[in-house]
């Protein structure tokens, strides 16, 4: 789950991670008011989940999702051109993202930019602090070209962050005196936030020092552990479904695990591993998968029907591959779901079905006895070959 910049800022404020003063606005008037309370240069930023906002273009022709201005009136005017409009950046695709809110904040003078992140390290099975003096740039590039400029500090999962670790990182980043103290305070607050919110990652890029000696988190990116969201209703409430793929939103309502892709062969599979393997073999046979879809180990007829509706709602889909290895799951349940779905939707594209496992004979009988036109396949490779051939025909 992703959150907006202004929501990240709210979390920072709650946990005492210093960031530039600012607030979110939903109207141009609000933006003007907030700007009126800020002295000096002011920045206004469109709130969308995609990167590349500064170089983006609104569909109304207005250029740039990030602007600097000197007066509150100017900020209000710019905000009026952003709110309610659609912003297209290199990350949003042609459709763009609707902008419902803007963030208005003081534009701070930057002395130097740093990088600071905490992430859950699966190999070390502990939180890992990652920091660098090279901030404000793509950190993966820094890691590749100058790995010595990235420092990593694993934190003991039971002992937690120790004062010496904070001092060590501060010193290695070149902080001294009051700046080191301020950095230490920020890092401890960030670590507390990381654990308290069950983050999988929190990344500040850039972390900046200002000419008057402050250490501030300028921009942040959060990742949360989906498994832990049940104990964070406040964070779950930050979810903005208008930012998500509508197909994925629809699928989550039926407890289906769906990820939209760009290809034209839709897949419906039970099990995450098998769903990935099905995508892989479609590609291997020269096709392109339209999605990842795991209906789970205990799917019902209703779920299968809804899964069909979702994959058929994708206009790119030219064919469907159903791949089921019914271990405990009854193949006949899947067969009934397919038949029910085909009755409800007007299926006019090729459907390849591979059923194997528990009660497979009954499932095949159900399919054969229905008036659903389908192509039966013997195994995974056979199914993929037939699906690719069917859409080429």
């Amino acid at each position: 789950m992703n959150i907006h910049e202004y929501q990240a800022k709210e979390l920072f404020e709650k946990f005492g991670v210093p960031s530039p003063r600012g607030q979110v606005a939903e109207t141009a008037e609000q933006a003007r008011e907030i700007a009126g309370g800020i002295a000096g240069k002011i920045v206004v930023k469109a709130q969308v989940h995609a990167g590349g906002r500064g170089k983006g273009t609104f569909k109304n022709g207005f250029q740039g999702g990030v602007h600097l201005a000197d007066s509150a009136d100017e900020i209000g005017e710019i905000a009026g051109k952003m709110i309610g409009q659609t912003l297209v950046t290199h990350q949003t695709g042609e459709a763009g993202k609707p902008v419902g809110k803007v963030m208005v904040a003081e534009a701070v003078d930057i002395e130097k930019e740093y990088y600071l992140a905490i992430l859950m390290d699966r190999e070390g099975r502990c939180p890992m602090i990652v920091a660098s003096t090279e901030g404000g740039v793509n950190i993966e590039e820094v890691a590749e070209k100058t790995p010595e400029k990235i420092l990593r500090e694993p934190v003991h999962p039971l002992a937690g962050l120790q004062p010496y670790e904070v001092r060590k990182i501060a010193a290695r980043l070149g902080f001294a005196g009051d700046t080191a103290k301020q950095f230490g305070k920020l890092l401890r607050a960030l670590y507390k936030l990381f654990l308290a919110c069950d983050c999988s990652m929190v990344e500040i890029n850039p972390l900046v020092t200002t000419p008057d000696g402050a250490v501030l988190a300028l921009d942040a990116k959060f990742g949360f552990d989906d498994n832990a969201l049940y104990r964070h209703p406040d964070i779950e409430a930050m979810r903005d479904v208008s930012e998500e793929d509508p197909r994925e939103v629809a699928a989550s309502e039926f407890d289906l695990n769906y990820i939209g892709l760009d290809g034209n062969i839709a897949c419906l599979v039970n099990g995450a591993g098998l769903a990935m393997a099905t995508m892989d073999i479609i590609k291997h046979c020269g096709g392109e998968p339209a999605n990842f879809l795991d209906v789970g180990g205990g799917a019902t007829e209703e779920q299968v029907t809804n899964a069909f509706k979702i994959i058929l709602g994708d206009p790119n889909v030219k064919g469907i591959l159903v791949n089921i290895f019914g271990g405990i799951m009854d193949c006949d349940v899947i067969a009934h779901g397919i038949v029910a779905a085909c009755k409800q939707v007007d299926l006019n594209i090729p459907l390849v079905v591979r059923l194997e496992g528990n009660n497979v004979e009954a499932g095949k009988k159900t399919l054969a006895g229905s008036d659903v036109a389908l192509i039966a396949a013997d195994d995974l490779a056979d199914a993929a070959k037939k699906a690719v051939a069917a859409i080429a025909a």
Partner: protein
């Protein structure tokens, strides 16, 4: 022999009175597994299916029944505690089936278990099966949620992160007549108990296991570590399969651990590591079974 569990292994099930746990406890009993106890706090004194006593604590269950393995079917919010309760009771093996345990909980569980005598498999895994010699492989030890009938007693050791992918390979080796010594699902979470490498070492030591199928997926570097070890230390043929070559980076593919991030954990790198270790890498999971048959035919 076989690894981890035998037909006479005494098993207890935490969460036996829940819908999911109860259903699979019943299937395990039908398979012939020695399910000797159940544990559900507050339900001690009940009897499951008229034969399995239910206890309030794992401590009591172990003392009364001598169970040495615990299967965890407890809901995610309580599963971390359930694992540590089993560790505290001194069982040899904990198999955590539960899907959806917060990563931070597993981090603390792993750190707390450090130095204990207990091995953890999972969480978010299909479990462990050592097939028996009866019809549809019954008479063996089935812990978890795998369908029993797809197995057959034999010589291939199977280790995998994913459930249905394991079943594909198991079914294929059964169809080909090879059968399996033991099948281990290590689970799809980023922090788990037993790794591919741990299981590979056990299979290498097991006289009954003649060959190994290793199934991995994107995310982490566990497959690479296993391959690195196997290169110089494993004297049994390995067939492998890695799922997720076409997965988009940064997206979690169902399993919490199946994610390519920062260019790490790609299917390509894992396949290369396996190939470098002398393993045969298949392009689909059933292919791994066929490859195994071919490898064995050449021995």
């Amino acid at each position: 022999m076989s690894i981890l569990v035998q037909p006479d292994t005494r098993v207890l099930i935490q969460g036996i009175t829940g819908g999911f746990g109860g259903r699979h406890a019943k299937l395990s009993l039908e398979y012939g597994t020695q399910v000797v106890a159940g544990v559900t706090p507050g339900k001690g004194g009940q009897t499951f299916e008229d034969k399995v006593p239910v206890f309030d604590t794992v401590d009591q269950a172990v003392a009364e029944t001598g169970a040495t393995v615990s299967a965890i079917f407890v809901p995610p919010a309580f599963a971390g505690d359930a694992i540590l309760e089993a560790v505290d009771a001194g069982v040899e093996l904990v198999v955590a089936i539960t899907e959806g345990i917060p990563v931070a909980d597993m981090m603390r569980v792993r750190a707390t278990m450090e130095g204990s005598r207990t091995r953890l498999i999972g969480p978010n895994c299909p479990g462990v099966v050592t097939p028996g010699t009866g019809p549809d492989s019954s008479g063996g030890c089935r812990i978890g949620i795998a369908p029993g009938y797809i197995h057959k007693k034999g010589s291939v050791g199977v280790v995998s992160r994913s459930g249905t992918l394991t079943y594909e390979a198991v079914w294929q080796t059964t169809q080909l007549g090879l059968g399996q010594s033991t099948c281990v699902g290590i689970g799809g979470d980023p922090i788990n108990g037993t790794s591919h490498l741990d299981v590979l070492k056990l299979f290498n030591e097991d006289p009954e296991t003649e060959s190994i199928i290793m199934i991995g997926e994107i995310g982490g570097s566990a497959e690479e570590e296993a391959a690195e070890w196997a290169k110089d230390n494993c004297d049994k043929p390995i067939a492998g399969f890695i799922a997720g070559a076409t997965a988009p980076p940064g997206r979690r593919m169902g399993h919490a651990g199946a994610i390519v991030s920062g260019g790490k954990g790609t299917a390509q790198a894992k396949m290369e590591a396996l190939t470098a270790a002398g393993a045969q890498v298949a392009d689909n999971p059933t292919g791994a079974g066929t490859m195994m048959a071919e490898l064995i035919a050449k021995l």
